[in-house]
């Protein structure tokens, strides 16, 4: 909800664009529902506005591009796919050079081919709708406004992979979409787009089940997502084996981003050449970008790959931006001197999160908040991430407090590199990014905060004595006095 801040999630109900004036009303309605001694009966997602003010999420698709405009009908992509053999479908996806839209950018055609080839009693298609990277909300727009396009893509994947089961892992905070998505699935079953012999195709049976996450960031990592889907603790798996070999229930599984499925559906409808006509040579197609922060028009923009940060800022109305965080805390910081850089797997790879910061924002303070985010979201399984994220945060605290020396900053950088190299999964490997990339983009800010001495202690005398001072009830005598 970064486009409609400040937002809150209260007992499962999403509240957006809050102001201090809203608080009394919220408290009143919460008191009333508690007085009924039935906290479970808080506003139903279907009519939330009735009970809680501002419990309505506005659609924020600001700019649609080729992917999201001129949608002919929900069956066209599927019909086109079913006219081909599964191998031909994968060939078409490969030809389009579609790459994963979650940010990692693995070639989708290759992933589908691996999964199809892998031997197993069942194959699975999993849609990663655990949109948890701070600052991204484009999957929310896809699922609330274009769910059929996403389900089309999943069904096409099911056909291409020889899978009978599709699973949507929906992030816990999107529980409010549950009812509407179930309705869409019901309609599709009625139309014969899900179920047995889809599109009259003998032996193509496919259905989709939605499973709700519980709000853990790590579950957006594909192997942790699979663990969570199986009902286990959300911790990543070691690879190999990759999910394409052994994924959900140890069977071959293709885990793809919501947007990837939407792209796949359009590719089958309009052809690989049409899709590859947008974007750059290495990054074909368009990208949904979620822009939020200090800008006039926050929202979702569909732009071709190759679009520069400057162009994005122009569209969103942020001429004075001093800093842009691309692809969320796990992505990279971009300083104004690099606003000419462009979105794409060959330059700024992104899952879509684009946070804009205007004049007056403290870049280092933001980097510290991102470091703190990773402390909270580390699953704890492996040492470098479990301990390293906390140490990184503490190091950054010293920098922000103006107490870090040149040696401290060098040590922080070295620690960040160790955490990046040694961590088990993408979370730990990217957790040092806010610190490492701001060091590269804004060295002058770090320099300005340095303590001009060769050494400062970790704990100040004042902090060290605080407990004793509280017990004794008197301040220590200083040398000067």
């Amino acid at each position: 909800m970064a486009d409609q801040e400040p937002a809150a999630l209260i007992n499962g109900t999403v509240l957006t664009a809050l102001t201090p004036a809203d608080v009394p009303q919220i408290v009143t309605s919460l008191r009333q529902s508690c007085a009924r001694d039935d906290p479970g009966a808080l506003p139903q997602p279907a009519r939330p506005e009735a009970a809680l003010p501002k419990a309505n999420i506005r659609s924020s698709l600001v700019k649609a591009g080729p992917l999201l405009s001129g949608l002919a009908g929900r069956t066209d992509g599927i019909r086109a796919a079913l006219a081909l053999s599964p191998d031909k479908v994968i060939e078409e996806i490969t030809k389009s050079k579609l790459r994963g839209r979650g940010g990692a950018g693995f070639p989708t055609g290759m992933k589908w081919r691996f999964t199809r080839k892998a031997v197993g009693s069942d194959h699975y298609v999993v849609c990663n709708a655990d949109e948890g990277e701070p600052g991204t909300f484009k999957d929310r727009v896809l699922l609330s406004e274009f769910p059929d396009l996403v389900f089309d893509g999943m069904t096409i994947a099911g056909y291409a992979l020889g899978a009978r089961h599709g699973l949507v892992y929906l992030r816990g905070e999107y529980a409010y979409l549950w009812d509407s998505l179930q309705e869409v699935l019901k309609t599709r079953r009625r139309l014969g787009l899900l179920g047995k012999n889809i599109g009259g195709q003998q032996q193509f049976d496919f259905d989709i089940r939605i499973q709700l996450g519980a709000g853990a960031y790590i579950c957006g990592e594909e192997s942790a997502l699979l663990e969570s889907l199986e009902g286990k603790r959300g911790a990543p798996r070691d690879r190999p084996p990759f999910p394409t070999e052994r994924g959900y229930l140890r069977q071959p599984t293709a885990v793809d981003n919501v947007e990837t499925f939407a792209c796949a559906a359009r590719i089958m409808e309009k052809g690989a050449a049409w899709f590859a006509g947008f974007g750059t040579a290495q990054s074909t197609g368009t990208k949904l970008v979620s822009i939020s922060g200090d800008c006039v028009h926050p929202g979702v923009y569909e732009v071709p790959f190759g679009t520069t940060i400057s162009e994005l800022l122009d569209q969103a109305g942020a001429p004075e931006a001093i800093y842009v965080q691309v692809s969320g805390p796990s992505g990279q910081s971009v300083a104004p001197k690099d606003f000419g850089r462009s979105l794409g797997y060959e330059d700024l790879s992104t899952g879509g999160s684009t946070m804009v910061f205007g004049p007056g924002r403290d870049v280092l303070e933001i980097a510290l908040q991102f470091a703190d985010f990773f402390v909270a979201e580390s699953c704890g399984w492996c040492t470098p991430c479990r301990v390293g994220t906390t140490l990184l945060k503490q190091g950054m605290e010293k920098v922000v407090a103006g107490r870090a020396t040149v040696a401290d900053v060098a040590q922080l950088e070295s620690l960040g590199n160790t955490v990046m190299r040694m961590s088990r999964c993408g979370l730990g490997q990217s957790a040092p990014n806010p610190i490492l990339t701001t060091m590269r983009s804004f060295p002058e800010l770090y320099e300005a905060r340095l303590a001009p001495v060769p050494f400062t202690s970790r704990v100040t005398l004042h902090d060290a004595l605080r407990e004793a001072v509280a017990v004794q009830g008197r301040e220590p005598v200083t040398e000067e006095s």
Partner: protein, 240 residues
Amino acid sequence: MAAATFRFTIDGIDVEASEGQSVIEACDAAGIYIPRLCHHPDLAPAGNCRVCTCKINGRNGAACVTPAARGMVIESNTPQLTDDRRAVIEMLFVEGNHPCPYCVASGDCELQALGYRLGMVAPTQPYQWPGRKIDATHPDIYLDHDRCILCSRCIRASRMEDGKTVFGFEGRGIKMRLNVDAEGGLGETQMAAIDKAAGVCPVGCIVVKRGAYQVPNGSRRFDKAPIGSDIEAKRGSRKP
């Protein structure tokens, strides 16, 4: 029939491995020591500590959970990996409370021994000083959580070897802790001192009572030879 064998190289040394072996198992058999902490030869690997991380075909991966494959090119004993491993060991030292000089496990502790082997002098990171309680509810075993490094060896041993579920993790991130499956502590679980889980702790967290100091300091495992020497000795004996 013997499993098919193949070869790969680690630090330029040719190693023979068979289908189903992990990198660390194949290297152990060949007498090449890769530093490790959570891995135990009798237990399924879990990849918790990351100390055995090597550069495998150009990418970092933990040797304990990576299946050996034909033609792999692995780097292990490089200055950077040694630095990174030392940094990880250091993280474990500052995360818990590890008072080596008066610890019952000193000289038998794999964490301490790795600190020595990897050249850790003193931690350069801030101590976290967590407040953790000792669980002495069991008549024969005590748990000193201060020294737990969350390696999951006891969890795996209890589940897979003992057929019990005495141990498990609770909490996430830096707040993750080892826990037992009874509210009242270890004494209320089915844990017995002869369990596999009681004998696999690499540090001084799970300690069988009334056995301490039977071997005096100075005569213990790692007082005599650095950790990994037993594995490296195999290679020495094989040399022509």
